[in-house]
């Protein structure tokens, strides 16, 4: 239960407050000041330098009313977010597999094996994937393993389904992806660019996610498993009825973090496609859009307004996430 402290009593513990002060100053300077400053400047026409003029809500009006690209970028980020959530599945599977390794020492080394790649900067990983896509490594691998023929066959099959059964959702799209004798231009054509941003990062094992799930899984008592085995529960049912319900909270949390990072991610998109959002701008995302307004158009005020809109959206998402988690608690 919280207890109110009278202001006059504070001086008795002044030394303690002095200890807190540096942390408060740092948080205030680096976390709160930029947000407040951004909020303030979102009502300005500001070039980041000498021109600073109050324009009221004009920046917000411009974003919502006159900028179709902004909404398109949000649609893109939602689709990307959906696929990034799907990409969480391998992390869950990995965590469960690690949890079920019986040898403690072996489990330790597996864990180390999964944690060590965390020191590699994610930007390096994106750069490597960019290289796979662009310098022919992926195409050579596909050609030499027969994977290219499989992709062409898959594309042809989709085209056949689309034309014969008139199912156009997905099949019409996939039917034109791979053509015989033509090396896929992964980042250079609209459709393949979409496919590339979905498939990059294989095998999609997020080390942080694995550690979070593993921490929860390891709190399950041995007796629970023993009881399940006595009841003749198979490996999948153990996962379905024991492990999954326990990690579901963390799955929801990770889902929120994944969506958050997808919305905030400008780095990987800029490495893949630069500031233009890919071929024909198909992969425009809000963070890159904001970056472009700030540094290419020199509209810092507008960029601040976009940033504020993003903050509000993330805040709403946080609320929805909290609402989703609540019933589980």
């Amino acid at each position: 239960m919280s207890r109110r402290v009278a202001f006059k009593n504070i001086r008795h513990h002044l030394s303690l407050y002095w200890f807190v002060l540096p942390a408060v100053a740092f948080i205030g300077t680096f976390n709160y000041f930029p947000v407040i400053n951004g909020l303030l400047h979102s009502f300005y026409t500001w070039n980041g330098g000498d021109v600073e003029r109050v324009t009221g809500t004009q920046n917000f009006v411009d974003i919502f009313a006159y900028n179709p690209q902004f909404w398109k970028s949000f649609a893109n980020v939602l689709v990307l977010g959906f696929f990034n959530i799907l990409k969480m599945i391998p992390s869950i599977i990995t965590a469960v597999c690690l949890h079920r390794v019986l040898s403690e020492r072996l489990q330790f080394w597996y864990r180390v094996g999964f944690v060590v790649p965390m020191v590699v900067n994610s930007i390096v990983v994106v750069l490597l994937w960019r290289m796979f896509f662009t310098n022919g490594i992926l195409n050579s691998l596909l050609t030499s393993t027969g994977g290219m023929n499989l992709l062409v066959w898959f594309s042809n099959a989709c085209a056949w389904i689309s034309s014969t059964l008139h199912i156009n959702i997905f099949f019409a799209w996939a039917g034109e992806l791979f053509k015989p004798g033509i090396s896929p231009n992964w980042l250079g054509t609209g459709k393949l660019a979409w496919l590339s941003v979905v498939i990059w990062g294989f095998p999609y094992v997020n080390q942080f996610g694995v550690l979070v799930y593993l921490a929860v899984l390891q709190s399950i008592g041995k007796d629970v498993y023993e009881a399940a085995e006595v009841d003749g529960v198979n490996w999948f049912s153990k996962f379905r009825y024991i492990e999954l319900p326990l990690i579901l909270d963390k799955v929801r949390l990770m889902m929120f973090l994944v969506l958050l990072s997808t919305i905030n991610d400008a780095g990987s998109m800029m490495i893949f496609f630069g500031l233009d959002g890919g071929p024909d701008g198909v992969l425009q995302v809000p963070a890159v859009f904001m970056f472009r307004e700030a540094y290419l158009s020199q509209k810092m005020g507008m960029a601040c307004a976009i940033g504020i809109v993003l903050v509000v959206i993330i805040f709403l998402m946080n609320k929805i996430n909290a609402w989703l988690i609540q019933p589980a608690e």
Partner: protein, 588 residues
Amino acid sequence: MSSVPENASRALPRVRSDAPSRWQWIKNSAATFLLATTFFACLARVLLREKAKLTNDKIVLSLAHWQLEPGVTKGFDEMAKRYNEVRRARGDAEIEFRQMPIPEGAYGQWVTTQLMGGTAPDLIEIGFLPYDTLLRFHARYFTPVTREIFKPNPYNKGTDLEDRPWKETFVDGLGEGIPALQEYYDVGLSTFSCRMFYNRELLKTLTRKLVAQGKLDKELDAPPDNLREFLSLCDKLHELTDESGRPYLPIAGSPDRFGLINWLTISPLSAPVLTEVDDNCDGFANDTETFFAILRNRFRFDDPRLKKVMAITRAVTMRLQPGWNSVTRDEAVMLFVQQRSLFIGAGSWDGMTLIKQAAEAPKPFAVDITQFPMVYPSDPEWGELSWGRPYEKPATGFSFGMTKMSKHPEVVLDFMRFLTAQKHNQEFNEIIGWIPVVRGAEMSKFLQAFKPNLHGVLSGYSPVLGAHTETFMNQTNPNLWIGEDSNGKAFGVQEWCDRMNNRWLGEAFIDFEQRDEAYRDQLASKETVLATTRAKILLNSDPQMKKYLQQRYNGAFDPPVDAIRDIARSRQLLQDARAEARKQGRLK
């Protein structure tokens, strides 16, 4: 009370007693040990460096740049050695020269932190920062050299440049400096140009094969200069396969590399549309003229001449390797070095590196340089577009500014004068393999092919006004290059014209209005700069400097009254034309 699960310690290795085992102790201490070692190693390094600084009597001259090619670092070291010889002969103390090659990806951030932290080197290569930031940095952290560049360079003694002001010894007279600050800050060391590189031996071998197959009249040791013939040769070369059975990819491309071909082969072909676009008849269609020509419907993107230019663009891009529009310039070089491609566009800045890479390749080969092919007036279809070779404006590059943190600015300035003297600039550029920037300095034999063409034509229109049009063009043009849009539908010249006609004007309007607004915002600061210039003219005792300031005050720099008049006129024009364009349905 919460109970501890039975297998809570499953993840931990088995422990035999309460005391931590040696293994566990190593595990627990490893991170602390690593952190402590790194910290002390860094501390020792910093202390040793500081000590060296304090005890060193030599004048240290430091220089930062982003040129990682070995030739450049070698060139600077060699010139510093020669500079020391000159100083020794004069009886001056020697300098200790330190250069810091920083990768270009991190250059902007590195320069920013060094300048803000007060630890910047004496000379910094200018670039990789937005113009506005550079402007602020110049004003705050760099020393202007305006006064000095109006005096002759003493190292030019005995040459035809002996009495000429330093500024005038450069091929472009150092341009206008930084007009917003009314000062000169940066001094260039080289100038640049682009040409087509090709693998002569491979070309000879493959054309010999084509002759044997009856597809070509004679064996070639250089590509045809005529664009149509060049494209036809590319098609024939593509039909041949290498030892692995893969077809040859005649031109190695990347967006950067194609940009060079576009600049020197394709864009001059749009010169004929100047008749509709170039309002002031100066032979150059700037972005404002382009904007008004399109706004007032004097020129459209489906102009038959422009359509032909776009058809040529497509014809060239079809001859590049698949996926070229998403690869980096180095990846294109790999294709050329692996001898899968025969031709590649390259600049004088990376020419030496390319030649070296070819010489050190698993199958070494010699590289030759030639002009990009051009359309000849005799061409039956494209001839009407050919007004001549492109004009290559000489301009200083590889520019360095002197920072205010420099402890010996007079020595730094003297070193810059040394590097930009006619003789030394030639020597320096010979070593690094670039084009000298000083008048009369000869290029090396290898660079003769890069000699800029000073009599030629420019593009007939400039469709980029600002960020919106730039992004729009960057998103639209690749569709034409690869022949399909983001939905996989065919995207040809007609589709390009339609999209440009439908959407370009709207984007251009946003850019134009933003620029107009920025121009109006600058009026107040312009008035301040003008007042400062007036004061400088009145108080300056140097006649040459006075003359220069007077010229700038009268001519190059619009007085605000003129600017206000221009703005009013352009706004009136804009309003009339906008109303008309809306009426015609060309603008939403």
